[in-house]
């Protein structure tokens, strides 16, 4: 194809996106669009799968049968999200195995928040309330993104995430209405998860390298800083309702701007964790890699069995 033809196709393509038409896997698309989508969707899928670990950590220790069932269901939903998102990536011609390989080798990233440890039961509340809360803010706009399979997956993901967020808040509420030990546990969880949750919305706009292109393709509709402000403004009243204190002495309502002002985020910590030196980066990767390696004989057996079954069927047919 000549450069001119490509340019022509690109113009038609961009015009379709501007008209809010969905791009489907078989449609022509610029290579950069394909790559960007594989990167973002697989990063999202990896986050779901790695995110199963810190919450899975509390399944055997959940304090009641109702909570145990709800937590199991939540972690199962996350596995389901991972599954749709890997499938959405497959429509762009990359296999799940290749994506796993990128995760295991450290080439692909996942949400840094999952590199923090879940050390008390209250962390199940805080993760649901804050981490899923921040995820929803990031993800709701993606229900209208330009790539059809991603947009459709996000509709379902967002519905489930919003249920998880309410569930997390409800765990916190129960703790905050409980004994002093339970209230302390809730406050301690908020203290540890607040700043990492703010970091989850990404680096400040000045530092963010992908924003402009992503905005054009509707992979992003608001800047990281705007999303962060939205998250803070939404969450502060919820913390007040719980009777918890946000661990930021500079947090205060700005009447003039109609938003909360907040303190300096420790970006050194953010980059440290992103670069692989957070409290649980090694442990999370080790858990994923060993699940994959220990499962190899099982996957091989399943393939071998399917081949044998196919061969037997063929033989019978002859």
């Amino acid at each position: 194809m000549s450069n001119e033809q490509i340019k022509n196709l690109e113009e038609i393509f961009e015009a379709r996106i501007a008209r809010d038409e969905k791009i489907e896997p078989k449609d022509w698309m610029p290579e950069k669009y394909r790559k960007t989508h594989i990167r973002q969707m697989s990063q999202h899928a990896h986050s779901e799968i790695v995110g199963m670990l810190p919450e899975g950590n509390w399944i055997t220790r959940a304090p009641s049968l109702r909570r145990k069932a709800a937590l199991l269901a939540k972690v199962q939903d996350e596995a389901g999200h991972g599954l749709y998102l890997y499938s959405a990536c497959e429509t762009l011609g990359v296999s799940r195995d290749e994506l796993y390989e990128q995760l295991h080798s450290g080439k692909a990233k996942y949400s840094s928040i999952f590199n923090y440890p879940t050390v008390t039961w209250a962390d199940m509340g805080a993760v649901g309330w804050l981490v899923d809360g921040a995820a929803i803010i990031n993800q709701v706009p993606l229900c209208n993104t330009s790539f059809g399979p991603y947009a459709r997956a996000m509709v379902r993901v967002c519905k489930e995430e919003s249920f998880h967020q309410r569930q997390g808040f409800e765990i916190m509420l129960k703790l905050c209405n409980g004994s002093q030990e339970q209230k302390d546990m809730a406050q301690d969880a908020l203290n540890r998860w607040w700043w990492p949750s703010l970091m989850m919305l990404g680096p400040t706009d000045a530092e963010s390298i992908h924003t402009e292109q992503s905005m054009k393709w509707k992979l992003k509709r608001k800047s990281n800083d705007d999303l962060r402000q939205q998250f803070i403004d939404q969450t502060v009243p919820q913390a007040e309702l719980l009777g918890l204190t946000i661990p930021d002495p500079d947090l205060k309502w700005n009447d003039e701007k109609g938003v909360y002002d907040f303190g300096e985020i420790n970006w050194d910590e953010f980059w440290q964790v992103v670069k692989g030196h957070g409290p649980c980066n090694k442990q999370r990767m080790k858990a994923r890699v060993s699940a994959w390696e220990n499962g190899e004989w099982v996957r091989d057996a399943a393939m071998a069995y399917a081949d044998k079954k196919e061969a037997r069927k063929l033989k019978e047919a002859i």
């Binding site: 899975g56 304090p63 596995a79 220990n294 099982v298």
Partner: protein, 251 residues
Amino acid sequence: MKQNNLYNYIISIADNSLILAQRLGELCGHGPTLETDIAGTNISLDLIGQTRNYYQYAAKIQGEGKTEDDLAFLRLEREYKNVLLVEQPNDHFGFVMGRQYLFDVFHLLFMTEMLNSKDETLAAIAKKGIKEVSYHKRFSGDWVKRLGDGTEESNAKMQEAIDDLWVYTDELFDLTEADKAMIADGIGVDTSKLKELYYAEISELLKEANLTVPEGKYFTRGGKKGIHSEHMGYILSDLQYMQRTYPNMEW
């Protein structure tokens, strides 16, 4: 006394589901594929659901104002009456599927009989549970076949699991005093009558899976009497951790 037998009867059924669910819960996020992780959590969830129905009913029968959680989390090890099979560890995926299949075949036969219980609550739990347990058995049975008739390595691993777990199967058919009393009242299932069907069904699938049916004549038992394996204390340490550390709180 009659109510006491009913209570003990329900507890022993419930404990099987609870402890197996707990074992499956350990695996979440660590399975060989995303699909097996999802299925494993699904089975665990079904079992927890059954467990809750049983404990709620047992608490009512007991009449001491206890809750499902008191029964699930606050008993001594000796008071848990699950069979030894369900507390066996997740050594590898062959053990997980082997344990599941050896239990599921029993569980489905049991639930099918429990449908005819004179006790309406138990019959209703069975009615709902049969659908779930049929799926569990299909899933675990398919995996035993895949692993048995897959590669040389998977065949050896599946055989190892079946051989090791086999010694715990006979206990499934032991009858406690509570079992006998409940059978006499038309409430309980006479599991001793299910034994032949159980081994016939399992033997057929094992042969189809290219596996050898163990010939062991020696069996290990004790769970139904509250005498557990060394694993049980660790299972309970996790299970009871919150309730023991923070007593009398709502979660």
